[in-house]
Subunit: 155 residues, 2 copies
Amino acid sequence: MTSSKTLDPYCSVARSLGVLGDRWMFLILREAFGGATRFAEFHSALGIARDVLADRLATLVEYGVMTKEPYQEPGQRSRDAYLLTDAGRDLRVVLGSLQQWGDTYLPRPGGPTIVRRTHRGDRPVHVAFVDDRGRELDPDDVVAHRTDQYPVRDG
Amino acid sequence: MTSSKTLDPYCSVARSLGVLGDRWMFLILREAFGGATRFAEFHSALGIARDVLADRLATLVEYGVMTKEPYQEPGQRSRDAYLLTDAGRDLRVVLGSLQQWGDTYLPRPGGPTIVRRTHRGDRPVHVAFVDDRGRELDPDDVVAHRTDQYPVRDG
């Protein structure tokens, strides 16, 4: 049902989006972070077509974002649960950055439906660039450098 | 050419992706962060169909991510340059988080093509959750809370 994708050989943004670059992917992940593990849970939460959901879950498994583990309820056939891997859990900050941008620039009238706080200390949380000492940076102090791996453009 | 989109009334991740949720959008933004402003620059860098590029740029302008400013070169007709707004520049951290995830979990054999460093101090940079004091957080210390605006699910 799923075929391996050809990922961009140079750009990590394009490589990430080669796997995740579809609204459903992020919405499936949102539900997974909210605790969903079962096909039926994703299906009912998102109103997504079953074949599309099956395809997207297979891609997430193929690229190591989720693992499939069988479970069986009494009197039912065995089914698969979809669990986030470490790679999947590391997408929290990606979803956090998308949520933060939407809350800021596409705000809804009543305010956010979800807010992030620290467990210890109950402090407000946001997503930002930080340095290797764990200190938040002014985005204007962040410079993107091309490495020697950067492709040379012809023409 | 572009029609206004219906954005998800509840979820900011879905709202952001309602505007940005297409691989081309992120790749157009990547070029814009790299300095591209002209239709022809985006077109030649991305190999994107002209009508698709025109549609995506119009959407970015409609939602305040870019502004259009006319420019004219000698002997040429007036054309539009596409410039990032503050909202557009704030997407740096979103692209940074996607890039970081790709570099980590979908690495290319030769290593990253782009690295981020601080301008002052030349320190390595990453994207993370931080608290209101600008201190990096352990992602496991970050909890998502539903506000009173969160929709009640029926059924």
